[in-house]
């Protein structure tokens, strides 16, 4: 197992390398640069700025410099937010995004899982149809419709929640964003859980457990759930990576100071270092959660072995 984890970590290095390299050259090939603003800087000032950040060096040299800095844990300065380094931006924003994302993930797994089990146990009955309808709605209605609707209903009409803002991390400020983030996930988890639970309940060992007279609770939670949870585990990995690295829609609509907005803003402003930083962070999260999923797989399913 430990060997497997080590091997996976080693194979992650070339993957990261390829991703960072492709992203580096892609963003550089794009026309424009970080200091090409609409108003335009004085040519002399622009030249100085570009010289200061080494943007006039040949591209391969810039690439080597960037990689060298990256290996030393230095993401470089942000060109468009000059008061911060990219590292500082992530140090400030990432905790916010991670808080919202992890709350949404836990909510999605608990609620979605429970709904899926209820639907599977009542297959083709009213409760099942209700869950299916909800899951369809949840996965069809886009986030940028749900978020303003939540603001409209809970913020403006019933005055229960603040319309937006982070409020220093106050709990009420997190409710709206977390619900918006988790609704589509709840829908997907419920659907997956329903499918795999129906399958699991048909298995021979469940019939045996029932025949031995075990209680419903014990059959479902101890025996069926363990097998049924596998698809959810493999779904939760990429979902967690996406949720924890912030959502531009939710963070924009609810005015949350997370990292979700950086990617789009930075790419549009050619803030090269910030774009690269975001790519690295997202890739790291994705690789880490994929590894965690594979380890969890072996924990949940004893048939899976990594030797």
């Amino acid at each position: 197992m430990l060997l497997y984890v080590l091997r996976r970590l080693l194979t992650a290095i070339p993957t990261m390398f390829v991703i960072v390299t492709v992203a580096f050259f892609l963003i550089r090939v794009a026309p424009g640069g970080p200091f090409n603003q609409e108003r335009g800087l004085q040519p002399a000032i622009k030249a100085n700025l570009e010289a200061q950040f080494g943007l006039n060096d040949p591209l391969w040299l810039q690439y080597l410099n960037y990689m060298n800095n990256l290996l030393h844990g230095n993401f470089g300065p942000s060109y468009n937010l000059p008061d911060f380094t990219v590292g500082e931006l992530f140090a400030n924003g990432l905790p916010v995004s991670i808080q919202l994302g992890s709350m949404a993930l836990v909510l999605a797994l608990l609620v979605g899982g429970a709904l899926g089990i209820v639907a599977a146990l009542n297959q083709n009955r009213a409760a099942d149809y209700a869950v299916i309808a909800m899951a369809t709605a949840g996965s069809t209605i886009p986030t940028f419709v749900i978020a303003p609707l939540i603001q409209l209903l809970f913020g403006l009409t019933w005055m229960l929640l603040p319309i937006g803002g982070w409020g220093g991390g106050a709990f009420v400020n997190k409710i709206g964003p977390v619900i918006t983030l988790s609704l589509p996930q709840i829908a997907i988890v419920a659907r997956l859980m329903r499918g795999s639970m129906i399958e699991a309940l048909r298995a021979h060992h469940i019939r045996t457990a029932r025949a031995l007279g075990l209680s419903d609770w014990s059959v479902i939670v101890k025996h069926a759930l363990r097998g049924a949870v596998l698809p959810i585990v493999s779904y939760a990995g990429p979902a967690a990576a996406a949720l924890l690295t912030g959502s531009i829609i939710v963070e924009t609509i609810f005015a949350i100071p997370g990292v979700g907005r950086y990617f789009v803003d930075a790419a549009l402003n050619r803030d090269y270092t910030l774009v690269m930083g975001t790519v690295v962070v997202i890739a790291l999260f994705t690789i880490a959660f994929n590894l965690i999923v594979d380890i969890l797989y072996a924990v949940v399913d004893p048939r899976v072995r990594y030797d």
Binding site: A23, A30, L149, Q151, V264
Partner: protein
């Protein structure tokens, strides 16, 4: 299945088989939700294609008198709006309203001014969105007092108007045209690239397959939105080019699905049987492989179109997609989200159109999946 086949073969040798597509269509027709969705989508498409010509307002016309007018089934102007519009028009003439009255569809207004009133001032009434057919009825001897009349222009804004006074109904229909067109355009692009790439990889097998799929893996691991934004950066805001490009990003899933299918079909017994019987490669490809690939492709396409529509809305929401005055559901929803406090219809109508279309596409996709899956009987 085999029993039935042999029994039929023993009994009558002339059994008319149902083709895959005939069978699928029969099963789809039995699915009420899918048929209703299909009907709804056709209706929506027709409404969006024909609608903008039937609605009396163009999607770009700005009605200055009707900014953020709430939706209503009754004709505008409402009684209290006439006075405001009249006041505005008269103020532009640099005159004052002394008195006004309404007779049926015409209003009569008595104006006073410190200077002589020019006859041509009636044009200020005509220019207003509320009045039409303005006439000078009479004028006092010194010309400082005049009576003008104008008919009230009846207008309907079933969905209300937006922040600049444009009719939301015509804008929503126009937006639907764009959103649906983009969905289809990008969907077809993705399917074409994905099928060609996936089928090539699946059939070639071996090293070619290995390399082609590693390329897909690398592209897959780059954050998706990064790609899309890079494309926006490269292609500018030309939406046809851009959505061809977006389609070109979405082919990755398609390629994987088709490759997997192609690989598994190649190993099926009936393909081996055909090979053993000496059917040429091309014959196997068109008789056995392509029809079996089409099912998943059609299913994936119905899932892809709503995905593209959401993506387009998402980009437009961020201000990267379709640009004003052209519009799409995403553009309208973005504007609606910014005005939920004061004008919630700006969010509600486009959102209902978008969400109902997505629902219908989903149900249709589900129906097709059941209809086309031979294992699901």
């Amino acid at each position: 299945m085999t029993d039935v086949a042999t029994a039929a073969a023993l009994g009558k040798s002339q059994v008319v088989g149902r083709s895959l597509w005939g069978d699928a269509w029969a099963r789809l027709r039995a699915n009420k939700a899918a048929m209703f969705s299909l009907f709804y989508l056709v209706l929506m498409a027709v409404a969006c294609i024909v609608g903008p010509w039937l609605v009396p307002h163009s999607y770009t016309t700005i009605y200055q008198d009707y900014v953020r007018t709430p939706p209503s089934l009754e004709a505008y102007p409402k009684a209290e709006m006439i006075e405001t519009a009249l006041g505005d028009a008269v103020r532009r003439m640099r005159a004052d309203v002394k008195d006004w009255r309404q007779e049926d569809e015409r209003i009569f207004v008595t104006l006073t001014s410190s200077r002589e009133i020019d006859d041509r001032n009636t044009r200020y009434l005509d220019r207003s969105d509320t009045f039409d057919d303005a006439r000078l009825e009479s004028k006092s001897a010194d010309g400082t007092e005049a009576v003008m009349s104008a008919s009230i222009k009846q207008q309907y804004f079933f969905f209300g108007t937006d922040n600049t006074g444009r009719d939301l109904l015509s804008r929503t229909l126009m937006a639907g045209r764009i959103s649906l067109a983009i969905g289809l355009l990008a969907g077809v692009t993705a399917v074409v690239i994905g099928v060609i790439y996936g089928a090539t990889a699946g059939f070639s097998g071996g090293r070619t397959d290995e390399i082609m799929m590693r390329i897909v893996d690398v592209l897959y691991s780059l954050p998706f939105i990064f790609f899309v934004i890079m494309l926006v950066v490269f292609f500018g805001r030309n939406f046809v080019l851009m959505f061809l490009a977006v389609g070109a990003v979405l082919w990755l899933d398609m390629a994987r699905i088709v490759r997997g299918q192609a690989l598994s079909i190649r190993r099926q017994e009936y393909v081996q049987a055909a090979e053993a019987l000496g059917v040429p490669r091309g014959g196997i490809l068109f008789r056995h492989v392509v029809p079996n690939l089409l099912g998943p492709v059609v299913i994936y396409m119905t899932l892809l179109v709503p995905q593209v529509i959401i993506l387009e809305s998402f980009l437009s929401f961020l201000g990267l997609g379709v640009q004003e005055p052209m519009t799409s559901w995403g553009v309208l929803i973005a504007a609606g989200a910014q005005n939920i406090g004061s004008a919630n219809w700006l969010l509600i109508f486009p959102a209902v159109f978008l969400v109902s279309t997505l629902f219908a596409l989903n149900f249709l996709g589900d129906g097709l999946r059941h209809a086309l899956d031979p294992k699901d009987r």
